[in-house]
């Protein structure tokens, strides 16, 4: 499905950083570990909540909870704005105003629907587990009926969306390039530490392969 900019996904500041391509939007959603869901509450105030997400084709799935009021508003049909951000590099310019970051971010608007179909619920739960750690969905014990009753997942089409991406070295004013100040980029990575087994892990269970060498995506 093509993604076309609407008035609110049109990027005004640094329009050259816009990436309207659906594949780029999808890749950022897949790589970001978490996202922030924002909506407007009954009193007309902005509200935000972090959660995890997953994508199946052109559908974004959001992990909710029956207890949090946030999801009650969303379940009642609130319009939401979902943002996911990946920071790739710090950009150190010679002058402090020109410092920046190389990043990839997605802003997505829509009205999520609650997932009620059991097959879709199952596929979305698998996708969320896979999103966080590929391989785990085939290993962990499957949800029971009780678990399904407590699980709240939402779906929204990835249609009204935009991506913004910055890459490359710092951009200083010409007269500052000769300054004696180091300038460049510092790549940032999400790396894993050593897996810490649960204190009550049964003896003889090996650390699974998908835990070693984990990286995003």
């Amino acid at each position: 499905m093509p993604i076309t900019p609407s008035d609110r996904t049109q990027i005004h500041r640094h329009p050259e950083r816009t990436a309207p391509d659906a594949a780029i939007v999808h890749a950022i959603i897949d790589e970001a570990l978490t996202c922030t869901v924002s909506w407007v509450d009954d009193e007309g105030r902005p509200r935000s909540l972090p959660t995890i997400q997953a994508r199946i084709d052109d559908i974004l799935y959001l992990h909710g909870s029956r207890a949090a009021r946030a999801w009650k508003a969303v379940a009642a049909g609130a319009e939401v704005c979902v943002v996911a951000t990946v920071i790739d590099e710090l950009v150190l310019a010679r002058t402090s105003p020109h410092h920046s970051m190389n990043y990839r971010s997605v802003v997505l608007y829509g009205t999520p629907r609650e997932v009620t179909d059991r097959d879709e619920l199952y596929a979305a739960a698998m996708a969320i587990t896979h999103h966080v750690l590929p391989g785990r969905e085939a290993d962990a014990a499957e949800p029971r009926d009780k678990d399904w009753r407590e699980t709240l997942l939402f779906a929204m089409p990835i249609e009204e969306a935009s991506a913004k991406i910055r890459t490359g070295p710092p951009v200083d004013d010409e007269e500052d390039v000769a300054l004696d100040v180091w300038a460049g980029t510092l790549p940032l990575h999400t790396v894993v530490g050593d897996p810490v087994p649960a204190p009550d892990l049964r003896a003889g269970i090996a650390t699974p392969d998908y835990l070693t060498g984990y990286r995003r995506p």
Binding site: S38, E79, V107, E150
Partner: protein, 223 residues
């Protein structure tokens, strides 16, 4: 100013035992997070969000904008905002798919923005936000001129209505799952720097400062 008792917006309802209202913990999470998600309400009444960077001075949170940004132009003049930061510390593996979780620290700040116009305050905020991202950098980079300061938009929000939610520890599972043949535990996640890349236009012989090679987030445990 202190962080008030939780309001209906900042009281944590899901897993309320995780809610943290202590000021030091809220501050530490804001100081460690590299960026935030800033939400406000558009002219059409729908929510709007941008990722941006922030810094804290005492009990005030400053958020970076730009005079060229239509979005931030919309929020300069005293409008209600929600600011969210999230740090994921690890993935929590339970034996059952349902009980999987993350170890995380998150803060939500609610408030009404005020634009920073005082040139001395702008200058202090500029230093703080530069050091927020790369501690030590503000003393090294060329300082902003008054014109550059005036070209940059910062808005501030008092840290009075805010809450943190912190999840750490081991997976918690029903007893009947503990005997399953599935690995359970924590996979810690860290943000670590790669090899610094010199700017192609770097003046030859300019040494790489130690705060670049040794960069790490404040409070972060080394990988």
């Amino acid at each position: 100013m202190t962080i008030d008792a939780p309001t209906p917006r900042t009281r944590v309802r899901r897993l309320p035992e995780l809610g943290v209202y202590e000021r030091e913990q809220v501050h530490a999470i804001l100081d460690e997070a590299l960026y935030c998600h800033l939400a406000w309400i558009g002219d059409d009444g729908d929510p709007r969000v941008i990722p941006t960077i922030h810094t804290r001075i005492d009990d005030t949170l400053y958020v970076h904008g730009s005079n060229a940004s239509t979005t931030l132009r919309g929020i300069k003049a005293g409008v209600p905002v929600a600011i969210a930061v999230t740090i994921v510390d690890g993935i929590r593996f339970a034996r059952s798919m349902f009980e999987h979780s993350m170890n995380y620290r998150t803060v939500i700040v609610y408030g009404t923005t005020e634009e920073v116009t005082d040139i001395q305050e702008l200058s202090r905020v500029f230093d703080a936000i530069t050091d927020q991202v790369a501690p030590g950098r503000s003393a090294d980079a060329r300082r902003p001129s008054d014109d550059e300061l005036r070209q940059t938009t910062f808005v501030k929000v008092p840290l009075s209505e805010c809450s943190a939610k912190i999840s750490d520890g081991s997976p918690e599972e029903p007893d009947d799952d503990l005997a399953l043949d599935v690995w359970a535990g924590i996979l810690p996640l860290h943000t670590t720097p790669g090899e610094p890349q010199d700017d192609p236009l770097l003046k030859p012989g300019t040494p790489q400062p130690p705060y670049v090679a040794n960069w790490r987030r404040p409070g972060a445990t080394p990988a």
